[in-house]
């Protein structure tokens, strides 16, 4: 079965492709998908691909309204049907997404980090629970052993970090991991992995982990360093 809606991130913004199915079904699915990760998509600009579906001005306006409600803007419509072109031009939308070659399939990871922003999570992350987010992650609460946070950007744990944390998961070696009490099972930054010594210990102050000279270094989280 082909998906009703596919959503891809590119350096140009999001590309939403509508599959086959009634307009209501497909748009309903699109709205649901976007709303489920609203904070992730907010602020994005959207190019719509409709294939050979014929889109009216009203239909495009309806989609535009949904996107606007979710904090996104529709800037282009790509479709094969002539009436789609006419409708898009009427609304002063671009009709040619890719003057050159068709885009390489991209994943949400290709959205630049600056556009991601961050999320704030207010709870205890227990064993088996995970947060995977392409931007920065701030957690108010503890990360218990067996839980993990994987972030494209930085990770700040306002509590005890006793599980796993992976910052810069898409390769950003500048990313940092901060915790009020840094007692992780394992931390990773970019492609580096570190685990604490086998003896038990209890940190006395908030700590910050970063990559220095090709390895993860954990030190006191100083006020001066923001």
């Amino acid at each position: 079965m082909t998906e009703l809606v596919t959503i891809k991130g590119t350096s140009e913004g999001l590309i939403i492709t509508l599959g086959s199915g009634s307009f209501e079904t497909v748009v309903g699915e699109m709205e649901e998908r976007l709303a489920s990760r609203a904070s992730f998509f907010r602020g994005g600009r959207v190019a719509l691909r409709v294939g050979d579906r014929s889109m009216s001005v009203e239909q495009l306006q309806a989609i535009g309204a949904i996107l606007e409600r979710l904090g996104m803007t529709l800037w282009a419509v790509d479709g094969d049907h002539p009436s789609t072109h006419v409708a898009a031009r009427d609304l002063e939308l671009e009709v040619d997404l890719h003057p050159s070659a068709p885009p390489a399939p991209a994943s949400p990871e290709s959205i630049p980090l600056e556009q991601m922003g961050g999320i704030l999570v207010h709870r205890t992350l227990r064993s088996g629970q995970a947060i995977h987010y392409p931007g920065h992650v701030t957690l108010i609460g503890d990360v218990n052993p067996g839980a993990e946070i994987v972030a494209g950007g930085d990770i700040v744990v306002w509590g005890r970090l006793r599980g796993n944390a992976h910052a810069g998961a898409m390769g950003d070696e500048q990313a940092v991991i901060c915790a009020l009490q840094m007692q992780p099972n394992q931390i990773r930054i970019g492609s580096h992995i570190a685990r604490p010594p086998d003896r038990s210990w209890r940190p006395k102050a908030p700590e910050k982990a970063s990559v220095q000279d090709g390895g993860i270094v954990v030190g006191r989280w100083k006020k001066s360093e923001s």
């Binding site: 064993s127 088996g128 629970q129 995970a130 052993p145 067996g146 993990e148 992780p184 099972n185 394992q186 992995i193 685990r195 604490p196 086998d198």
Partner: protein
């Protein structure tokens, strides 16, 4: 040389599957065997904690099955025994992440590299159990001398008999000789009589097990503890050595009889 795949299961939770898996793996590795312990309790993994290897996990069983890493990359070498490895379960997934066919395939890849593949089964009789038992050459059933645990073990014996795995062997865990003497606990004889399968070992109740589990250092490594000795004996039996079951003094002696008589 091809490994023997041994699955440790019980039906009931909390009877000591993971402790048995860790300790038999350690004991066999101490006997010079090449051993890998595989945790199939996806989502509720523990074997890594009991073996003290939790913070070394990079890839896990599910990563290997789904092709995110090569199988060898998911092996964790034990920090004490160079011939012992762990293949950990994933924690953020669930039992449906692998199926029995994948487990059989995975174990066939492990067979040429080891002498023993130990599989720690999750509790229950659902998919996790089926994943664990599917690749087994031999099945070890763990029970404690409690009616509920024995009942569940009986269910498992029936399930294993229905498959072509050869006769399952029984391990009785946490036997308290003093309680048996006072007739407050099922005895070895009682349990074997109910289950009617071969006994391969009896582990006495031993506080050292709790200490060693918390430290991530299996009790088999401890030369002095009675439970460690019991595990090493089972390991020897798995290798075909003829070691008699340790005599745990269960029958009432004169003093017990007298005290029971006095208490009325």
């Amino acid at each position: 040389m091809a490994a023997t795949v041994v699955t440790v299961t019980s039906g009931k939770g909390g009877v000591g599957k993971t402790t048995v898996t860790a300790n038999l793996s350690v004991a066999l590795a101490m006997l010079g065997q090449r051993v890998i312990a595989v945790d199939t309790d996806i989502g509720l993994r523990n074997l890594d904690v009991v073996m003290g290897l939790e913070n070394r996990i990079v890839y896990d069983l599910v990563d290997a099955v789904e092709g995110r890493c090569r199988l060898r990359q998911a092996f964790i070498r034990d920090k004490r025994l160079s011939e012992l490895y762990l293949l950990p379960a994933a924690q953020t997934r669930d039992k449906s992440a692998v199926n029995p066919e994948q487990m059989i395939k995975l174990c066939n890849q492990l067979r040429p590299e080891f002498d023993f593949v130990f599989i720690d089964s999750p509790a229950g009789i659902e998919q996790g159990y089926r994943n664990a038992v599917a690749p087994a050459d031999r099945v070890l059933i763990v029970t404690t001398p409690e009616v509920s645990a024995v009942r569940d073990a009986d269910r498992i014996v029936g399930l294993v008999e229905a498959e072509d795995k050869g006769p399952a062997k029984l391990i009785i865990n946490r036997l308290n000789p003093a309680m048996v003497r006072r007739e407050e606990m099922l005895s070895t004889v009682d349990v074997v009589e109910i289950l009617a399968i071969d006994l391969i070992g009896v582990i006495p109740e031993d506080p050292a097990v709790i200490v060693s589990t918390n430290r991530g250092s299996p009790v088999s490594l401890d030369g002095r503890s009675p439970s460690g000795q019991a595990f090493r004996n089972i390991a020897g039996r798995l290798m075909g050595q003829d070691i008699p079951i340790m005599p745990i003094k269960e029958s009432a002696n004169v003093l017990d009889r007298l005290s029971r008589f006095l208490r009325g």
